[in-house]
């Protein structure tokens, strides 16, 4: 059955002894989950996920990763289990070639050379970056650099991927690629945690949403429930995707019965209600 991968027990983090960033968080993340963490800047979401790979240690309470208390562990140890992809790939990349960039993580973990090679080759395929193998990370376009950032974590084979704003500022093509990659990572058995404002990602890709406000988790459930709760959405200043908004209105106008979060969902819902037949 499911196994708990990350467990937070009464986690509280206070910066500089005065700023409470997260307060009394209890949370369990199972293996293979696809999670979206959402909330305005300052709501505590980044602080929360930084505890998962040990970048931050609890002021009070405990965080367990794979059953181990993170308090006594170094980030470098936790890196084996938890991979953190930073929002800005420029913060992450420094090597002379993309290949070296992908080798950096596993080499640090002490993975034997042959296996590093194999992992890097697989990553190039997985992310479709083979063309840029020997390119300088700063010479490729920004969206590609973002993918290199993800790939550099992928080669470390962590159990959990934390993706900080994987689609922000990206165009539609890159955004779509990122969605696909997230699903493929999950299909390979990884747990993916996206810290994101991208409403379409949250409505269509993730399966569990953790909503944060004022250092606390105010909702932890499936996206459908979150998006159905208009008060909750409004209280955190989140605007649903346009299609969800339309489906609210169509439901209010009694045209459909169930809320739809995606275009496909709404097409299905309307075709069912009005007996529309696919023309081909």
């Amino acid at each position: 059955m499911s196994e708990a991968l990350i467990v937070c027990e009464n986690l509280t983090h206070i910066y500089d002894g005065e700023v409470v960033a997260v307060q009394d968080i209890n949370l369990t993340i199972q293996k293979g989950e696809l999670i979206g963490v959402i909330g305005q800047n300052g709501s505590g979401k980044t602080t929360l996920v930084k505890h998962f790979n040990g970048l931050l240690k609890p002021t009070k309470g405990k965080v367990f990763v794979n059953g181990n208390d993170t308090a006594g562990m170094r980030i470098q140890e936790l890196a084996k289990s938890v991979g953190y992809v930073f929002q800005n790939p420029n913060h992450q990349l420094f090597a002379k070639t993309v290949r070296e960039e992908l080798e950096f993580g596993p080499t640090n973990l002490g993975v034997p050379e042959d296996e590093v090679k194999e992992r890097v080759n697989k990553a190039f395929k997985f992310f479709n970056l083979e063309k840029y193998r020997e390119s300088h990370p700063y010479r490729i376009s920004f969206p590609l650099r973002k993918l290199v950032g993800m790939a550099s974590i992928y080669t470390m084979r962590p159990d959990v991927f934390i993706l900080d704003e994987p689609t922000t500022g990206q165009d539609h093509i890159t955004t779509r690629i990122v969605y696909q990659l997230i699903e493929r990572l999950r299909n390979e058995g990884a747990t993916v945690i996206c810290v994101a404002h991208d409403m379409i990602l949250l409505a269509e890709v993730v399966e569990r949403m953790i909503v944060m406000r004022d250092s606390q988790i105010i909702a932890d459930t499936d996206p459908r429930t979150v998006f159905s709760d208009k008060d909750l959405m409004a209280s955190t200043h989140l605007t649903p995707p346009q299609i969800t908004e339309l489906s609210y209105r169509m439901r209010d106008n009694k045209q459909i019965k169930n809320l739809a979060l995606s275009i496909n969902g709404l097409l299905e819902e309307t075709s069912k209600n009005f007996n529309l037949k696919r023309s081909k």
């Binding site: 910066y15 500089d16 930084k50 790979n53 970048l55 980030i75 470098q76 890196a79 084996k80 991979g83 953190y84 930073f86 800005n88 420029n90 913060h91 992450q92 990349l93 420094f94 090597a95 950096f104 993580g105 640090n108 973990l109 700063y138 550099s152 974590i153 470390m156």
Partner: protein
């Protein structure tokens, strides 16, 4: 990471010191600087330190002052340690007590104490000035007494850039550690500088475009938003600062009895405890600092 930033900037407040224009405060700080370098008299230096602490109280900036001093104080204190065994003082030196190759000298202790006093006193005054003055007012005043605009502007921007780069460096380091980066030595940290520098260059390029888009570098006359007004009381403080500096300076030059280097003597017990505690304060500070760097 957040605690690492030393608050060398204005602390908002409503004290009488905050209300004084920057120039009189600058004059006093500069006067203290001159006097501190003119004399080694512990009484005068002690008075300066006491005055500095009094001003810190009036300005209600004890907390930020302590945060700065936690870093600087051990550095100042170490001068007592270093000077006592190798005084920056004309020979002959009178030994007080010796352990093997080390000898503590009378002149050393005297010189160490006075050096500590100088550094501490000057820093106190400088910090009170910085912490009670809006940086823009400070720069505007400096411009009034002849500092060129562009230099001023560069200083302002640099001042802003330091905490940003510090933060950026922290992020880059976290990113590296998240990828299992080994070691904390300089060699390991060096690659992290690449993204920071690339980011800084990008920032400066973008900034120059942005500034040009706001008519920076226009050929016409420039005006200034900050208008630092000098009130009569400010002039009085300014003039009294200058007078006090001249008077004390004159006194120091004329009155030879202010040199206490021979008359002020230290017992071996006092000397040893001074030197040992100075050494202890410094080493414990360095140890804590190293420990903190490794831990994060």
């Amino acid at each position: 990471m957040r605690g690492a930033v030393i608050p060398i900037t204005m602390v908002p407040g409503d004290s009488p010191l905050h209300k004084i224009a920057p120039l009189p405060k600058l004059a006093w700080s500069f006067g203290v600087l001159i006097i501190a370098f003119m004399t080694r008299n512990p009484a005068i230096l002690g008075t300066i330190i006491l005055a500095g602490l009094l001003l810190t109280t009036i300005a209600q900036i004890w907390k930020p002052m302590l945060r700065v001093m936690i870093v600087l104080f051990p550095v100042f204190v170490i001068s007592i340690f270093l000077q006592s065994i190798a005084p920056a003082f004309p020979k002959p030196w009178n030994p007080i007590v010796g352990f093997g190759p080390f000898t503590i000298y009378q002149e050393g202790i005297y010189s160490g104490i006075t050096m500590f006093g100088r550094a501490f006193g000057m820093t106190l005054f400088a910090m009170v000035t910085i912490m009670t003055t809006h940086p823009s007012d400070l720069f505007a005043s400096l411009e009034k007494i002849g500092m060129p605009y562009v230099l001023n502007f560069i200083l302002t921007v640099t001042l802003q850039l330091i905490p940003i780069l510090q933060r950026e460096f922290g992020t880059v380091l976290s990113a590296q550690k998240s990828r299992g980066m080994k070691g904390t030595g300089f060699g390991a940290v060096l690659p992290s500088m690449v993204p920071v520098f690339v980011g800084a260059i990008e920032r400066v390029q973008q900034l120059s475009i942005s500034l040009e888009s706001r008519a920076f570098g226009s050929t016409g006359n420039k005006t200034s938003y900050r208008n630092v007004v000098m009130r009569p009381s400010d002039y009085i403080i300014l003039v009294s600062g200058l007078l006090a500096t001249f008077a004390t300076g004159y006194w120091i030059l004329v009155d030879k009895s202010l040199d206490w280097s021979r008359s002020m003597t230290f017992s071996p017990t006092l000397s040893i405890s001074l030197v040992v505690s100075a050494g202890l304060i410094f080493t414990s500070f360095v140890t804590i600092a190293i420990f903190k760097i490794i831990k994060t």
